[in-house]
């Protein structure tokens, strides 16, 4: 256990950097900002000795959140409570929870590691997020709140033929949830192995067990509080580390960068493009995936229904955007600052010169340097809490899609009682928890970077086009929406399989058939074109009916007239 990574080849500095970059590239690149723990996927994980302060703080977090779950369970009586916390969350709480739902351990550990390794190029993972959220606020949040009740699928099915549109959107939604869950579970297992010295299998089971507790007993209310508390802890920790970095340089940003350039083997190249993303299509593809993938994430969109009206949805997204913008600026400071304090520090490297625990540990090494073992324990516990908050949000979104969109609305045509729907949701939660464990274990030794990229790519190529067109384009018909969804789904998943992420890394072929990691550059525009063409070609009577309903939808989306009341919607 103490002999860290003795199986790794240790050579010169250059080789070590290459290895490091390789592992970070595969994890982070593709984990994107939104993704999980991003454990070091290339097999460099070795269990760490027990970190007592981390375990104590983690236990406090678990006890507190289980206490909240117990309280939330007593307040969760109807399906409104279960899916949307009865619409009774305040904008501040919801905004903080949205930030907690979205910022995964990859934001803190992953992007920090990527900026440490690649410098400027990795900043796109932060900038892309901040390009998405304001647009969600300006164009989507209020209208989504006015049109739906629990999931974004309510919105897209508002005036279209309920059965087919719910099925195709549910496939999109569940694909995102499951791909995202796999990435989270594998990342979580490896991270916990690293931080707490727990076996991978137990780590995965523990995460799944806690997530099932939160979601199945406490529903949206418990999930909200887990996300909220974790967001606050993450912000406190990030602020502390960034402040200490700034203080070490007398609050001179220029000095942080100059020092990083002096120490980093790539020198001044880390402050400009080119170390990670090599060609324009790769850059534009990841830029599109980040920005539009976020706009199609079911677990994020679901949070918009937890507040009482469109006004509160707007305020929530504003709070979330501000908190995330602040945190991403901290991350940039932390990432460049880490170069100075971690890169040449023998305490954080093994005898061969490899960084202890792999690239994702950079942020935690810096934490240890700045705040000692206590802060390290705190941030490790926060990293674990982060994973739990994100998987809980995902599982709840998946359970809502299965129980509400598929079971109740599609197959039983809305005849299901509230109690029965909650029961189905709980069964779905257990099932998703089980699937997460099985897939988490199955993928332990796989390169899962592609799984995470699939989640965002499917969100950008299936969910987002259908959602935005259903809100704004009066001529979209069911046929058009289905065509767009199918094209987006097949292209996004198909091109990833033919690309370097699966065709080369997983299947072992020499050359990818599709050269790019992210398919979004092609799959998203083609999904839009399919929606457009098939809607215009659709001359059916059903299509006319759907177009005629747009006026009513427009009135509701703009004014909120007709939305169900605050706490009893």
């Amino acid at each position: 256990m103490s002999k860290l990574m003795n199986n790794m080849m240790g050579n010169l500095m250059g080789k070590m950097i290459k290895l490091f970059l390789g592992s970070v590239l595969l994890t982070l690149s593709l984990f994107g900002a939104a993704h999980a723990a991003g454990g070091d996927i290339s097999g460099a994980v070795v269990k760490q000795p027990l970190n007592i302060s981390a375990i104590i703080m983690f236990l406090i977090f678990v006890l507190a959140t289980l206490g909240i779950t117990w309280w939330a369970a007593s307040k969760t009586k109807t399906k409104d409570d279960f899916y949307a916390a009865g619409g009774g969350i305040t904008p501040w709480q919801n905004g903080t929870a949205i930030a907690g739902d979205f910022m995964s351990a990859a934001t803190f550990l992953g992007i920090t590691g990527a900026i440490y390794g690649f410098g400027f190029d990795a900043m796109i993972l932060a900038v892309g997020v901040m390009a998405a959220w304001p647009v969600i606020l300006f164009m989507m949040a209020e209208r989504i709140r006015n049109l739906g009740s629990y999931t974004f699928i309510d919105v897209v099915s508002y005036r279209l033929d309920k059965k087919p549109i719910r099925i195709i959107s549910a496939i999109g939604s569940l694909s995102v949830v499951i791909f995202y869950l796999i990435a989270q579970m594998v990342g979580a297992g490896k991270l916990i192995q690293l931080l707490f010295g727990l076996d991978y299998v137990y780590a995965v089971i523990l995460v799944s067990f806690l997530m099932i507790c939160y979601v199945s007993f406490g529903g949206m209310l418990a999930t909200t509080w887990v996300q909220l508390i974790k967001a606050v802890l993450l912000l406190i920790g990030g602020t502390f580390i960034a402040f200490m970095v700034m203080k070490s340089f007398n609050f001179n940003v220029e000095a942080i960068l100059s020092s990083a350039v002096d120490i980093h083997p790539k020198g001044a190249a880390i402050l400009g493009p080119g170390l990670w993303l090599k060609d324009p299509i790769a850059i534009i593809s990841i830029a599109l995936t980040m920005m539009f993938g976020i706009m199609g994430l079911p677990h994020i969109l679901m949070r918009l229904f937890t507040v009482k009206d469109a006004k509160d949805a707007r305020k929530s997204v504003f709070v979330a955007t501000t908190l995330m913008g602040y945190f991403y600026i901290l991350i940039i400071i932390i990432g460049f600052g880490a170069v100075t304090f971690v890169m040449n520090n023998p305490d954080y490297h093994d005898a061969a010169g490899n960084i202890l625990g792999g690239g994702n540990m950079v942020a935690l090494h810096l934490t240890q340097y700045m705040g000692g073992d206590f802060m390290l324990g705190f941030m490790s516990a926060v990293a674990f809490a982060t994973i739990l908050a994100v998987v809980a949000g995902l599982t709840l979104a998946g359970a809502a899609t299965i129980a509400h969109d598929l079971y109740s609305k599609t197959f039983k045509k809305g005849t299901v009682s509230s109690a029965e729907e909650i029961k189905i949701s709980r069964i779905a939660t257990f099932a998703l928890g089980g699937i997460a464990v099985v897939l988490g274990i199955a993928f332990e030794h796989q390169n899962v970077a592609f799984v995470a990229s699939m989640a965002l790519a499917v969100a950008a190529s299936v969910n987002f086009p259908i959602l935005i067109m259903s809100i704004y384009w009066s001529n979209m018909t069911t046929r058009g929406a289905i065509a767009g969804g199918v094209v987006g789904l097949i292209l996004s998943i198909g091109l990833i399989i033919l690309g370097p992420g699966v065709w080369v890394s997983v299947l072992g072929n020499a050359e990818p058939i599709f050269p790019q990691f992210y398919p979004t550059f092609y799959s998203m525009p083609l999904a839009f074109i399919a929606i457009w063409v098939f809607s215009l070609l659709d001359k059916s009577a059903q299509a006319e009916k759907e177009k005629a309903l747009f006026d009513e939808q427009l009135v509701r989306s703009e004014t909120g007239i007709g939305i169900s009341g605050a706490s009893n919607h």
Partner: protein, 103 residues
């Protein structure tokens, strides 16, 4: 909502004012963000030399400045939109609902 009610709302001057103003507002702000992001992404793609150039003579580069500006403008525009919507759109929307007999 009945078709006549929908019709009534659609033709209401306040509805027109509200949707026109809000759509324009949302679109302009979205464009600001999109253009900023496009400059950053296209700069990375097609003008890496410019993005690596020193900003102000030191280590700071144009690329980093533009990236951080996109983040900050996202926060600022969100703030302005929310502030304005709370003060203007919500009042208008409230009046509209009252005049249409809801609430």
């Amino acid at each position: 909502m009945s078709p006549t009610e929908t019709e009534k709302c659609l033709n209401h001057p306040k509805f027109k004012e509200l949707t026109r103003a809000r759509n324009r507002f949302g679109l302009v702000f979205s464009l600001i963000i999109a253009v900023g992001y496009a400059v950053y992404v296209l700069g990375m793609s097609f003008a890496p030399g410019f993005m690596s150039q020193s900003f102000g003579g030191g280590s700071m580069t144009y690329g980093i400045v533009i990236g951080v500006l996109v983040i900050i403008s996202g926060m600022v525009c969100s703030g302005i939109y929310t502030w304005w919507a709370n003060r203007y759109f919500d009042v208008l929307s409230g009046e509209l609902r009252k005049e249409l007999g809801h609430e």
